[in-house]
């Protein structure tokens, strides 16, 4: 007899995923992994996991997502958000991961400062990269 395939959503309903959902206001389980976000992301080349892969880790409740550099490379340009066919604003998910990492003190945020920079960028950077 063939073994049963458990497609229950219960196994996926991890506290970590729910915490990310709470912070971002975006349901990670709405994502069906089409990859459109990653295809259009201007920063995907610099990420250690593609945006859809980051979201997949969240769906699986895998907290290793917090150690990735991908959320720190995301500049919240929202190209993904306007293209997602399921209406998931992944930039918000990335922000939730940054915030969780910062609050847990495991931030892999870039530490250096490239000069010169305008004040508008410095304010933007410290608001994104500090708790």
């Amino acid at each position: 007899m063939a073994s049963e395939l458990d497609l229950s959503r219960d196994r996926l309903d991890a506290p970590f995923a729910r915490r990310v959902e709470e912070l971002s206001g975006e349901n990670p389980y709405a994502c069906y992994q089409c990859g459109k976000c990653s295809a259009g992301c201007p920063f995907a080349d610099y990420m250690d996991a593609l945006p859809n892969q980051v979201l997949r880790l969240v769906q699986l409740g895998d907290e290793s997502a917090l150690a990735l550099s991908a959320p720190w490379v995301c500049a919240s340009c929202l190209a993904c958000a306007v293209r997602c066919p399921k209406g998931v604003d992944i930039a918000k998910t990335m922000e939730a991961l940054r915030i969780l990492a910062l609050r847990k003190g495991i931030s892999p945020a870039p530490a250096g400062i490239d000069r010169p920079y305008p004040q508008i960028a410095l304010v933007g950077a410290y608001r994104k990269l500090t708790p």
Binding site: P42, C77, A79, A81, Q119, V123, G124
Partner: protein, 286 residues
């Protein structure tokens, strides 16, 4: 004269002074009495995407409160980042529970009641002034100058706050056409320049900027026009050596110049940049 509250933001008093000068010159000619809001503070530059982080809305909301104090219902922003942050925060705190919490925190004499609209220069020119009104004020036509209209992110995303269609915007092209310029095909016009990553990941921004400038040059542009001071900085200061050295001007600068504003003020930003009008595409000395 039509009174309009105006939020400048930091860049308009510093790196983007020519944008403000040109815009104010043009808006006066178009019948606006621009009232800078008193005691304005930083908009926050980047909008907080977190749901539990009300603190990050205090900056924008304080500014909106000052607009309310002026007895105005809306405020004009020129900077794309200020526009995005103010407009999105205004919407976020409309929710009664958030509004109550933020008022408790602000602890000002007058509570913020919400309902302040945020308009960007581009939508003002399209929806209220009308493109057709612009040519009659043109004193120096842009005379077929080929422009690449760089929208970047904040004018078009998220969708609810887009000044135009996020995929196929045309408002900047229409405004510049009315001034006598010719917009060129520019596929990268809505792609991010890297924004604040310029502080810690210059390498990424340089790659983005090279791509954007090559796209503008590929369409035959003589110059790039933008409304975002951070894009302007990145497109000039983070240009990789091999990318075309196109001048990057603010919309207000171009508008003011076409409307006959004082040339030294409008040209202030051009120090160290290639001269507009000297077509880059025909191989001017660089």
């Amino acid at each position: 004269m039509k009174r309009l509250a105006y939020f400048p933001g930091c860049a308009m008093k510093d790196q983007a002074r020519p944008d403000e000068a040109g815009t104010l010159h043009a808006l006066a000619l178009l019948g606006y009495e621009i009232a800078e809001i008193p005691r304005w503070n930083c908009c926050g530059t980047v909008y907080s995407l977190a749901q539990d982080d009300l603190m990050r809305h205090v900056g924008p909301v304080r500014n909106l409160l000052r607009v309310q104090g002026m007895g105005e219902k809306r405020v004009l922003a020129l900077c794309a980042m200020c526009y995005g942050t103010l407009a999105r925060s205004a919407r976020f705190v409309q929710e009664p529970e958030r509004l109550a919490r933020i008022n408790a925190f602000l602890d000002t004499e007058e509570d913020f009641r919400g309902g302040i609209g945020v308009v960007h220069l581009l939508t003002l020119l399209r929806d209220e002034v009308g493109y057709e009104k612009l040519p009659s004020h043109v004193k120096q036509s842009l005379n077929g100058l080929k422009v690449a209209t760089y929208y970047g992110c904040m004018l078009l995303r998220p969708r609810e706050f887009a000044v135009d269609d996020p995929d196929r915007p045309e408002v900047m092209e229409r405004v510049l056409e009315a001034l006598g310029a010719v917009p060129v095909p520019f596929p990268e016009r809505t792609e991010c320049c890297g924004a604040y990553l310029t502080v810690g990941r210059k390498d990424i921004v340089e790659e983005r900027v090279g791509r954007i400038l090559r796209s503008a040059r590929g369409g035959g542009a003589d110059l790039v026009v933008t409304t975002c001071p951070l894009c302007q900085f990145n497109l000039t200061e983070r240009r990789p050596p091999e990318a075309p050295p196109l001048p990057v001007l603010y919309l207000g600068q171009v508008l003011g110049w076409a409307f006959g504003a004082d040339e030294p003020t409008i040209a202030a930003l051009l120090v160290g940049q290639p001269t507009p009008g000297e077509p880059v595409s025909s191989g001017g000395a660089r």
